[in-house]
Subunit: 136 residues, 6 copies
Amino acid sequence: MKVKVIRKEHFNAAHRLFNPSWDEEKNFAVFGKCSYPNYHGHNYELEVSLVGDPDPQTGYVYDLKLLSDLIDEHIIKVFDHKNLNLDTPYFKNLNPTAENIAIIIWRILRQHIDNQYELKIKLYETERNFVEYPAH
Amino acid sequence: MKVKVIRKEHFNAAHRLFNPSWDEEKNFAVFGKCSYPNYHGHNYELEVSLVGDPDPQTGYVYDLKLLSDLIDEHIIKVFDHKNLNLDTPYFKNLNPTAENIAIIIWRILRQHIDNQYELKIKLYETERNFVEYPAH
Amino acid sequence: MKVKVIRKEHFNAAHRLFNPSWDEEKNFAVFGKCSYPNYHGHNYELEVSLVGDPDPQTGYVYDLKLLSDLIDEHIIKVFDHKNLNLDTPYFKNLNPTAENIAIIIWRILRQHIDNQYELKIKLYETERNFVEYPAH
Amino acid sequence: MKVKVIRKEHFNAAHRLFNPSWDEEKNFAVFGKCSYPNYHGHNYELEVSLVGDPDPQTGYVYDLKLLSDLIDEHIIKVFDHKNLNLDTPYFKNLNPTAENIAIIIWRILRQHIDNQYELKIKLYETERNFVEYPAH
Amino acid sequence: MKVKVIRKEHFNAAHRLFNPSWDEEKNFAVFGKCSYPNYHGHNYELEVSLVGDPDPQTGYVYDLKLLSDLIDEHIIKVFDHKNLNLDTPYFKNLNPTAENIAIIIWRILRQHIDNQYELKIKLYETERNFVEYPAH
Amino acid sequence: MKVKVIRKEHFNAAHRLFNPSWDEEKNFAVFGKCSYPNYHGHNYELEVSLVGDPDPQTGYVYDLKLLSDLIDEHIIKVFDHKNLNLDTPYFKNLNPTAENIAIIIWRILRQHIDNQYELKIKLYETERNFVEYPAH
């Protein structure tokens, strides 16, 4: 049986939910306050989990210090204290919902973590709204 | 791969654990302090999760504001500041354990959420006792 | 300069806010859902703090295990899994608001803790509603 | 002895720390990532406390439902999902640090709460950075 | 569909990560500060979950008071306020990583809980580092 | 009126409570499990607060990034992943209770923070046991 290991990190960012093919009125009807034009923001809490077998030499599935460094280099440095819509390349044509941010983070990290490890993202936009990708 | 979205709500309620086919002594032997006749209560924390595909127009699996409204109308209005045994129709012949409350909440919400979305309930009775339904 | 030490405990109880000199309508106007006749309940989180000088032999202001035992004997055993209105002697003629519960807990514990220690109570009714007594 | 009652609310907002009399370089030297031009944001947690005597008729120092409504009308409606620098009148010439936001919230609420009640603000910008006003 | 029930407990322990077949230098290169010779420690938070069907007589999948007692007898009494490397029989030849502690706890509890119940361990070493066993 | 600013940090350490002028039996009678000879440990959460006036140029009472760096250099580097009794100079002749650790941290930081700022330490040994120094 395999073990799952989880590392939790955070970043603070601004964003706005907005579909550019709709007018302001429709955007407000669908996204409410999240569509306000001058952005709002969140303290995002990010949990990254990996599944694998503990290494018999170390007892680690994956060194969580190394995982933390990977998240820092590829996610925190890119997203923290940024405007997700304007300052990152990922949300020029993609709405920065929690769902889409989690998918993007998964795609970025997947390139840097060996495929022997299952990878999963849990992202808290607030204490009461959060998402997981993939769901299973 | 699908995404899971979760909305967390809460309600405060009184309850008592009690099997009416047993006498007080056996109820106390099985349920301990939870069987005290005049009720006690909890701050229940409720997490409702849905699994689906993000809509390409919105980036939402499900509008969590809409999910919050559904929970409010069908669960919070019915359970909040109520005596679960006396004031709700669900626990006249069913013991209001966390397990049974979670199953009831699932059954109520299942009627109002399209079957394309997997639905799951996580219910905290206290920070140290909580349940999930369905388990998988 | 003195040190403050704090011990956190919890109890689960039912209560109802109600002024018997008013009719149901006025009680509902003032206390809203908290006045529902069949009670609701809370997971109360209780912080008890004492101020004093560390003992040079132990480094303790007060043994928190001993404080925990005192709280258990005089508060938890009396309030936990009880109906505050019906099952305790304190709220027969006193509304069990968080304010009044905190004052009662202070008065009970004050009898069991030497007056050389300042005593203060912080009581969480929910994560979002809480009180302190005395205020200063 | 008086009782303190506390109500906790939250809002999500974008902001940027910036002194317009300095150039970008000096702003970055002083404010670091907080000075990035396109804003970032936070889930602000706000605790509002009042000190007073419990009313003998109600057992309340202050109805926390009423306090919640006041905070909602005068603070949350103005700050939530807004850009504090651009969308509110308060930070046109005042840097929206946690310190200054807390002072502004205190000044707004002070006008709506009778002076018999001491008023205090605690504002969490993140779980690890927070402020209180007034300090004593 | 089955229900999962979860009980959360905690223990405080010292440990050191160390592979005795390596020298100090290699241990420090792999385990960093966790390899310091005189031990450090953690407040471990332990979640034990069981999956089964609610009993029609009680509404319980498993009496969480009984589960708490089992955890107390077989885990807390053995691990709490102990040095995991020196004071327990489990980590004489096994590195006490969170992964290995979770596996050991699972093996101990599996002997005391009927196999009709799926058993799972979640162990928090810190708020930011935690593991689950089995992963699925 | 002045503002209080707070920065929260953490460290993980081992310790043992023990009075060397007493025998093992008396140490166990007074300190219980905390006196076990091979040490146990905690995730210490440390809140450092400063009181002062916001600087009109920055809106800061004190740059919390700078405060975090000071705590890191003088406290975290010295205490984190250490055995408080064996690896630090402070507890050779002083019992490392939460009270004494808080006093030591205050004394260390007081040397590095201008006296115009009131300084206060809050230290969580566990979620349920914590201390403040000075108390007022």
